[in-house]
Amino acid sequence: MELQVEAKIGMSRKWDAREAGREVAETAIKDLTCPPDFFLLFATIHYEKYGGFQEFLNGIWDVLPEETPLVGGTVTGFINNYGCFSRGASGLAVSSPSIDVAVGVGKNTKRNPHRAARQCAEMIQNNLKRSPYKNKFLLNFISGPVMPSIPGVGQKKYIRSGFVSKFAIKALGLSQALVQKGLGREDEIFEATVQQLPDYKMILGTSMDDHRGMKNYQFFNDKILTNAVVNLGIATDLDLDVLTTHGMKETDLHFTITKLGAQNHAICKINHQPAVPELLRLLDWPEGFLTEETMMHTILYYPISLRRNGRAVPVVMPLIMKDSIFVPCIIDDGEVSILTVSGKDLVNAVKENLHFFEGIQPEFGLFSACMTILQTLGDKTNIVQEELCKYFKDKSFLLFYSAGEGTYSPTKDITYANMSFNTAVFGHKTR
């Protein structure tokens, strides 16, 4: 009998962490004829309250064959062959006669992202350098942002006071270095990883909780980590490709960033004016419109197209401190467009993305997508799932929602974005 690629989705909706872990592993591997070559594992943050993630992983290892390479972490939600979920756990187990796998880990990503990226990429490089397979893939999965708690203020997305903001900007830097709460710095890690592994096609995702940005965990074999990057490296004779689409459109609203701060993470001035009042003027929003409560329902839906090393970087504006806008990645100054996106645009972005892969007969697929898309589409996320089912038919796919995602391929370079769909399809070229 000719051995074939086997890819199976595991899933659990049980609340108890250990039972859920067991069920995810059982459902993923029960129909495999060979032990899995790797296991990707994603779970929502709920298990923290129902036994904890160590118990969750213990449940996985009650079932999963020893030494199976495993990476993953907490995510906001996921889509697989069975539906869309913002609670539960899902895994992807793959077994193939023509695949080599390595996993890597790097720690202290928020304090020293470059070192973490290097450590993690070296593990992949060293373990796959003798692989005979020329097609190489990497999942770069990184601890996402965690809102720092500012003394006297708490964990806020919007700080109106100028005095507190000045203090908070300094505190953010300290918090990042000392207690590793703050930006995920996934863009820096991704860039560093690409520099080290330029021949790999990559998909970037970040670990999150239920959209609150309070905590997240990464899984590396039998360990639970925080502030870590975990990599899954694959060398295979399967054809594979990656692509990012986002569906965001430029409006006729433009501005120029004239002053950056906080190591190029903060837009301090636009059009030579304090950034926030000028942005409100451009959007025709009244002063005082933005509050901690309205942030979630307003500004997140007006992404902006920034620039980084000549590339367009569409991102949301998740944090405002008095007159400065914080963005999730390092940016350059210059001209910026305000973007707009609708639910229909988001669904079209998925269709456009899958259209690109029509020349591949898929064996399995992996996706990262922005958690704001899940928040935006809500139960209409099922439309996305139906599109994915149409493309993959009976083949397995797993999409996880994160906060900062992207792709890289040697031919398409880095795409880092928010509000995007990022696809990796493994299969056989048909044309």
Binding site: M11, S12, W15, G77, C84, R87, D379
Partner: protein, 142 residues
Amino acid sequence: MKDDPIAEVLDDLMRLDDILACMVARRNMISVMPSSEGFKPEVNQIWDNIHRAMDDVFGVIGAYSQIGLGEMEFRLQDYEVLFYVFPDTENALVAIVPALANKGLLEVELENARREILRIMEGPKKESTPKNNTEQVLTASG
């Protein structure tokens, strides 16, 4: 009500932090409530007002569900009430959530619950009705 599989679906919803209350209901009648802990206490103070408003909304659902009304919602003070209508009926899955909850994430699970309840209603004699899609997972080839 203890062994009611629909009540078990509602129990699952009640475990989510931001679901303050949920039920399967129609005008002037709550058909199924969660079996375990009931509603979260903060709903009690506003329940009478919400209940009255719900009955008015069910009047609209009754009038329009036959022509495809699928969802409704209203906001009352600091709460939102979401209605997921069972197609072609006057019944809906109803959830009360805080007005500023991450509604998109909740909507995903409310839709899953509606589908699960529909499956239960369509096959009431099927003993092996999957709780939380597990059976579906076990039988489908991923």
